[in-house]
Amino acid sequence: MGASIKLKATEDTPDIILDREKNKFSITGRSLPEDPSEFYQPILTWVKGCVKQPNPHTEFHLKIEYFNSSSVKQIVTILIILSEIIKTGNEIKVIWYYKDGDDLMEIKGKELKSMVSLPFELQIY
């Protein structure tokens, strides 16, 4: 497991920052890769490693503009792994951002919130 992952956004993949030292964790932008399970594989591996020794307070920011359905599945998997942090006694909070009036993203946020058991906040930006 590397110290951090930084991926610049491309046309069909999001900007990703996973930085334990700076305590910054975010996925931002479009997520439409043809094969999301391949794209998210290293992310999942990193997050799995991270939750074993998490920071005391982790905020995970999801600010997704567009996605395909199989990317959502990968994001759910990330959330499930993140919920392990609770067991370690450390704090974890997920913040799902959506634009005012963007029903699709609001509903998607609510759907995800109902699927996982960890603090999950919806926030308009």
């Binding site: 069909d12 439409l32 996605f67 599945k73 998997t77 009036g101 993203m105």
Partner: protein, 364 residues
């Protein structure tokens, strides 16, 4: 519009290695995306692609700048602008259709007819030689008009006017470019009349865009740009625009994931139509016959579910550990069923012992 429309147009464009037809509003911002679709879809030489792109730019700008627009849209004059590019064999057909004021007709006709006056030597002056190397500038070909370009590059140009009322005529323009000097293979696969016919059929079905050919990710992305632009200009509501875009991605990637490969390409057709302020998104592609039963069962089962059942199965699917491509496809169909305003329409058309044409249509 039924799912079978996909097959109808697929057959009409059967010989096409690639086709892109777009009706509706045009602005310069769309040009780069159109060029990118061509660039990413074709296997011709870069020199030819550059040449083709300069024609696409010019043709496109012709529509943007010169199309006339009635002050009041009526049933007679409701003729949207069209841009078309089709590749059959080594031939490329670029066409535009737009309204023009009848009082401009004479001038235009004179200009078009001047092409005939050019001598064979003059025509031989390859237009490409006069083009600067490398990329095409924003202004396309430095202000050179489409007709001038056609003249200089020895490409075949056909046109026609269709009188619609006292003020307007429809102006059809079609160019043919040939990628290789494959003289043996030359023939007129697309006559001007075919394009006129096609235009009327597209109008009758309220079609906004058709794309036939290979649906790999690199050709899907520029297409999404065009559609995003179009949806935004039509629907100011962020909410419905986002949903349409989401469904577009699912449908297009569905072809790229599941279409039966034909000569190394994931061939398919995608149609977007607008009716009563709703978007009808339709795809069609070949699939292996042995996949038909399973897919049919899945679609039938989804069709029988109400909203709650769909929400449950969506949740179940997302939480399942199955991350294979198959599982992914399942999520896509569930989402389509959830968001489609009408029941998903689908059709399986038996082609031969190994192949079936599968079409899928959703309304949003």
């Amino acid at each position: 519009m039924d799912a079978e429309v996909a097959f109808k147009f697929f057959k009409k464009l059967e010989q096409d290695h690639f086709s892109l037809i777009y009706l509706g509003e045009f602005d310069d911002a769309l040009t780069p995306s159109f060029i990118r679709i061509n660039e990413n879809s074709l296997h011709e030489s870069q020199a030819f692609k550059n040449k083709l792109s300069s024609f696409v730019v010019e043709c496109f700008q012709n529509i943007v700048r010169h199309a006339d627009r009635p002050d009041i849209i009526t049933r007679t004059n409701n003729k949207p602008k069209m841009f078309m590019i089709r590749n059959i064999g080594y031939s490329f057909y670029i066409a535009s259709t737009n309204l023009i004021n009848n009082n401009k007709k004479e001038d235009l006709l004179l200009k078009l007819k001047s092409i005939d006056k050019f001598s064979a030597e003059e025509l031989k002056t390859a237009y490409l030689d006069s083009l600067p190397e490398g990329e095409i500038s924003d202004t396309g070909s430095g202000g050179l008009g489409l007709i001038e370009m056609a003249k200089k590059s020895n490409c075949e140009l056909k046109f026609d006017f269709e009188f619609i009322n006292y003020f307007f005529s429809i102006f059809f323009l079609q160019l043919k470019l040939i990628a290789l000097n494959d003289l043996g293979g030359l023939r007129d696969a697309v006559k001007l009349n075919n394009s006129k016919e096609l235009y009327n059929e597209l109008l009758a079905e309220n079609i906004l865009m058709i794309r036939k050919g290979d649906f790999s990710q690199k050709t899907i992305l520029p297409m999404l740009d065009i559609l995003e632009n179009n949806i935004q200009s039509q629907r100011n509501l962020l909410s419905s625009g986002k949903k349409i875009f989401y469904m577009l991605v699912e449908l297009l990637q569905n072809i790229s994931k599941h279409a039966k490969e034909n000569n190394g390409s994931k061939e398919g057709i995608f149609i977007i139509a607008v009716k009563n302020d709703q978007h009808i998104l339709t795809t069609g592609n070949y699939i292996e016959n042995d996949k038909v039963d399973q897919l049919k069962k899945k679609l039938e089962s989804l069709a029988s579910m109400n909203k709650e059942a769909l929400a449950d199965i969506y949740k179940e699917n997302l939480l399942s550990k199955d991350t294979g491509v198959k599982g992914g496809a399942g999520v896509g169909l569930i989402e389509m069923s959830k968001y489609s305003l009408e029941k998903i329409k689908y059709n399986f058309k038996f082609i031969n012992v190994s192949t079936t044409f599968f079409s899928l249509s959703i309304t949003i």
